[in-house]
């Protein structure tokens, strides 16, 4: 394990981390501040995000790439969401899973079609950030539940719970959106 850690803690890793920080710190702060509306809390979110990033530097291939920018945006958004949760003292409620593990109720797949793509986009744009980040981690950044759990500092089981909750929310929004189109 020591060998593994010492490999991770190379000068190259440190340089990479510093480069990412220098390049994206203001960007991260801006993203966090948009969600939190508080400059100092946004700094806390940025700090949390970079701390999480230190353990996942391997996922950043090219510092300059748009992919890295997106990855940082998701991390900092998720950290800002965490701060919002703590601020409102809702952590305990949030941790409660509200979705029964009934695949029969999950019909989101039926709405995820090319025909519904524009509806999907408009629903995502309205989707709460707390839900969006889970989708982003899973689909845009292609992370496993275990990896997401590490980044969010929660258990993989809880990641799954949040994912099902997010799916349900998106499904409801799409149902409404598609029904609205049919009505028109």
């Amino acid at each position: 394990m020591l060998l593994y850690l010492s490999m991770l803690d190379t000068q190259e890793e440190k340089d990479k981390f510093t480069e990412i920080y220098q390049q994206y710190r203001h960007f991260c702060w801006y993203v966090a501040n948009q969600l939190l509306g508080d400059a100092h809390l946004a700094e806390d979110a940025v700090q949390d995000a970079f701390l999480a990033l230190t353990r996942h530097l391997d996922k950043v291939e090219d510092v300059e790439s748009p992919r890295t920018r997106k990855f940082l945006m998701t991390i900092v958004k998720s950290k800002a969401v965490d701060i919002l949760r703590k601020q409102h003292g809702e952590t305990s409620v949030d941790e409660l899973p509200v979705e029964p593990a009934d695949p029969g109720q999950d019909v989101l797949d039926h709405y995820i079609t090319k025909e519904n793509y524009n509806h999907l986009i408009s629903c995502i744009l309205e989707l709460d950030e707390a839900y969006r980040v889970i989708f982003e981690y899973k689909f845009v950044h292609q992370l496993q539940d275990r990896e997401i759990a590490e980044l969010l500092d929660i258990t993989p089981k809880l990641v799954n719970v949040r994912y099902f909750r997010a799916r349900k929310k998106l499904q409801q929004m799409l149902e409404k959106e598609v029904a609205g189109r049919a009505g028109r």
Partner: protein, 332 residues
């Protein structure tokens, strides 16, 4: 239409389903990616944001440190702060408990066995007290001494049944306690510091999820010299005011082969205790990981959150309730 699609899916089997899932994942990735692009397009360039906000000194210092150490020293600094708060409170509590416990034990032992070297005089006093209990009760001070002396007198009368009961009680090993359907042995060392000025031990989270598979312990070497520690970290549980060693299961012992690790000066190292290797009681007040560093033991305390009990109940309860309302409340 939905039913038609379901029917199609079942007809074409797993291959079709997998292909469809892959397509949907791709579609979701595209859609979420596009939405992220849109979000990004509204974000001004770094230089412009830099003019909008100047980072606080606290933030800059913290980030400089984070950059310098790639997150390592940062963790250690947090540990130090938490250590000072936590350790002072624990030390004060332990001291108070020890004083009270010592006083109680001392009183009990004197009551049971009398003062050492008090021999015959004590017996005489006992006899006196037995003969005139009413007289002894006449003053408060006398009352305090009379009661235990009465007990001593009763013992000296040689009640065989009473003696047998006392013997049986004495046979119950005070070094053991019942825990999680088994027994646990009293820990050799009850008072373990979380660290010293040169060595720190800390768990990743003072409160663990009940689903946690492992507990991570960070061992920090703040000294100028290399230290060594053992990886066979002992898990201990706090029961009725004392620490007991939680025995590992056979599988757990096989999975974690103990070894000695060298930790260089200024370095921190994480170790994990796999919780699957133990039979645990999540309701126990607290646990600690006892780490042997250079022959001295250090204890990093944690407990399991009570919240997760609610988590399990809620999983069942959601089949009846309206889940989305709760989810909305949680996020708003």
């Amino acid at each position: 239409m939905r039913d038609d699609k379901r029917a199609d899916g079942s007809r074409n089997g797993n291959g079709y389903r997998e292909k469809r899932e892959a397509l949907q994942s791709e579609l979701l990735a595209d859609a979420f990616g596009a939405c992220m692009e849109e979000q990004l397009s509204f974000i001004p360039p770094e230089r412009e944001i830099a003019r909008m906000h100047v980072f606080s000194e606290r933030f800059q210092n913290a980030m400089e440190e984070l950059c310098r150490t790639n997150g390592r020293l940062k963790k250690r600094e947090l540990s130090r702060r938490e250590f000072i708060f936590g350790f002072n409170r624990i030390a004060a509590s332990l001291l108070l408990m020890l004083v009270i416990g010592g006083a109680c034990v001392g009183t009990y032992l004197i009551a049971e066995h009398g003062l050492p070297g008090a021999g015959r005089d004590g017996s005489a006093e006992t006899a006196e007290a037995t003969e005139a209990p009413e007289e002894a009760q006449s003053t408060g001070a006398a009352e305090d001494t009379a009661a235990p002396e009465e007990e001593t007198a009763a013992e000296s009368m040689g009640d065989a049944e009473s003696a047998a009961t006392t013997d049986a009680a004495a046979q119950v090993d005070p070094e053991e306690a019942a825990f999680a359907g088994g027994t646990v042995r009293l820990a050799d060392e009850q008072e373990l510091p979380a660290g010293t000025g040169e060595i720190r031990t800390l768990v990743s989270s003072p409160v663990l999820d009940r689903e946690a598979e492992s507990v991570k312990i960070t061992i920090g070497n703040l000294s100028e010299e290399t230290i060594t520690y053992r990886t066979d970290i002992e898990l201990q549980v706090y029961l009725d005011g004392a620490w007991y060693v939680v025995p590992g299961t056979e599988e757990g012992a096989a999975a974690q082969e103990p070894r000695t690790v060298e930790l260089e000066a200024g370095m921190a190292q994480d170790e994990e205790i796999l919780l699957s290797g133990y039979t645990l009681d999540f309701e126990a007040e607290k646990y600690r990981a006892a780490v042997n560093v250079d022959g001295s033991f250090f204890g990093a305390e944690f407990r399991f959150e009570t919240l997760e009990e609610g988590l399990e109940e809620a999983l069942e309860g959601t089949l009846e309730g309206n889940p989305d309302d709760a989810g909305q409340q949680a996020l708003q």
